[in-house]
């Protein structure tokens, strides 16, 4: 972490960049916040540890419009999102200095809460280097958890340890994948329609329409979202039953289909713990099956599958009824 701070300070001092986007220490050991750093003293609060899960690439949409260059700390998976933003001309690459930061999986405090860990005073073992267990010092005594068990779901299907775009890389990364990316999707596909419907209904009935999933999504970069259009009466902030949430979530996922890099931010930020990535991943899986493997953000020149076609594409009627035969 110190190396990263020193380098950022250096970049600002020598005028390469005017500001840096990174994470600021939180008031709890697990809640750092994305922040801008400009002056040397700002870096006193700079932090980069296991809880710095936020994908900072979306902040570059605004930051790249500012006067002067901005340095941004991107984890390997975040660089896919950044590439995708370049593809869509939403960020100015010229105005960005990308520091690829090392990552050995990011952590989810909810996982600890699920284990009954509360009253946290301090947390050890979440530094960016090292590979020991995580130790919680709490009011109710000391608790331990394996780093792996505390990881965000998305890190179990890690896209790999390589940054796909960067100006320089600081720190080591680890491929933390230990599960198949489409495992959950396949599991749902194998259910009966009734089970599937019941599953999504119970998950989506929790939705409070806070729009966090949309606002955090690096692919959701429309200047005006269709769901913010006051002239459209489905711009609903809440609904009588769960259908509209279904519509919101299907459309949200559809609008980013072919552009979603599967960064998992939507599921990370959902206050109700809805596995929103299941929608996005279903689209990704279908796109892979129907139109050939495609990873958004891997290549900033690649044509997105939904803005492309071939003459002998699959007919919609053949897209369904493949699972439960």
């Amino acid at each position: 972490m110190q190396e990263l701070i020193n380098r950022l300070k250096e970049l600002i001092a020598d005028g390469t960049v005017v500001r840096a986007i990174g994470w600021k220490k939180g008031d709890m050991p697990y809640n750092p916040e994305p922040a801008y750093f400009e002056k040397p003293e700002d870096f006193d609060n700079f932090v980069y540890d296991g809880f710095c899960g936020a994908n900072l690439s979306k902040m570059m949409i605004e930051a790249a419009k500012l006067e002067g260059k901005t340095a941004v700390c991107l984890k390997p998976c975040d660089t896919y999102s950044f590439n995708q933003l370049i593809r869509e001309h939403r960020v100015n690459r010229e105005n960005t200095y990308i520091i690829g930061v090392g990552c050995r999986g990011k952590l989810d405090i909810e996982k600890a809460r699920k284990e009954g860990i509360k009253g946290i005073k301090s947390i050890a073992g979440v530094d960016i280097e090292g590979d020991g267990d995580v130790t919680f010092d709490t009011i109710y005594g000391e608790k331990k958890m394996a780093y792996k068990d505390l990881m965000l779901d998305r890190c179990h299907v890690c896209k790999g340890k390589d940054h796909v775009i960067f100006d320089e890389v600081i720190g080591e990364s680890k491929d933390t994948a230990d599960a198949d990316r489409f495992e959950e999707v396949i599991k749902i596909e194998k259910m009966t329609p009734e089970e599937r419907f019941a599953f999504f209904k119970s998950e989506l009935s929790k939705c409070i329409r806070c729009n966090a999933c949309r606002n955090v999504c690096p692919a959701c970069s429309c200047r005006k979202c269709v769901f913010d259009n006051t002239k459209f009466d489905s711009q609903q902030k809440a609904n009588v039953d769960s259908f509209e949430e279904k519509m919101f979530h299907i459309i949200r996922a559809f609008h980013v289909a072919g552009r979603c890099t599967d960064c998992g931010e939507c599921s990370r930020v959902c206050p109700e713990g809805i596995p929103l990535h299941l929608f996005n991943r279903k689209f990704i899986k279908d796109i892979d099956t129907f139109y050939g493997e495609f990873q958004a953000g891997k290549d900033p020149e690649a044509q997105s599958p939904l803005t492309d076609f071939t003459f002998d594409d699959l007919e919609p009627k053949d897209a369904v009824g493949r699972g439960d035969k």
């Binding site: 916040e33 009011i139 109710y140 913010d228 902030k237 809440a238 109700e272 713990g273």
Partner: protein
Amino acid sequence: MYSIAKENLNSLYAAIAGSYDLFMPIKTAGQTNYGFWKEGAEGDIDTLKTIRSGKDAFFPQVEQLYTVNREIVPADVAAGDDAEKAADTPVRTKLKVTPGKLVDQDFVIFGMRACDVRAIEVMDNVFLTDPVDSYYKSRREHGIVVALACHEPEESCFCTVFGVDPADPSKAKADVATWMIDGKLYWKALTEKGEALTAKVADLFEQEDADAKVEEEKSYIEGIAKQLPNAELSLEGWGAGKTDEKFKSEVWDKVYKGCLGCGTCTFVCPTCQCYDIKDYTTKDGIQRYRCWDSCMYSDFTLMAGGQNRQTQLQRFRQRFMHKLVYYPTNNDGMFMCVGCGRCVEKCPQSLNIVKVIKAFAENK
């Protein structure tokens, strides 16, 4: 004092649900939220904080206000309709307004924590002041609040800062106070409404002299509450009449930057009460409903000719100024925050009211 063993709680829920609608923390799809208990539901009073607060009981996320039925009738020139215009547009719209139904049955809110009970007082100051909101009022009149002491407060809690006592729900404006001690729920009715509820389920309870036990539990909780990291948070500089000095502060510019403009904080907050009124057109009438709204949304103050809070900084400032300055100014210094800590846990970017208060203390 009455008591009931924890393993018998389901029969207590069933007994209450036999006479009332029972609104309580229920676990669905891995998360605990308030909901109506029915046979088979998994009541969960161990989870300290439901994700959504208990405000749904009195101020639900969606509420039907009234239905308007439209009838298209031919223009009636004889009844004073302008003949020339009638030829132009031959039909007229007639409307019929049917107000939504008010709650008229008693219902029980079970397992509310002291902070959420205080939040009801905060909302009362909004909805029960002139002009009274009758939808809210009917719910308040019929709701019986059973409060539950917080056995193990968490690090995100800072209710003591606002004078809420997590150890003693009988200090809050609840109808029944309860404590969960060593696998037993202790029950103390506080008001007439609470007595009436107790009478209906009394045969499930044992009579027990447990005052000493409860006192012991209270001092245990108080001991924990003192150790919480935000227990000493200072509200100095906030409150009634501080509009000018806080509004103009440059600290806002430092604290808002990460804000996504989502509505998580407002929707999980037990005191946020801003709402929107919207129409939904169906085959049988236009339903006008109100739903929660968030001051963080870009369309919150949007008008045909622009708006008054155009930047996220302004919207962010509005939320915290409302909670810590504007509301106290209008309500004898009472803060519009109860320290439940839900925003501390749920903000996607880890921004929250505690960080704001601390940032102002540091940048004096």
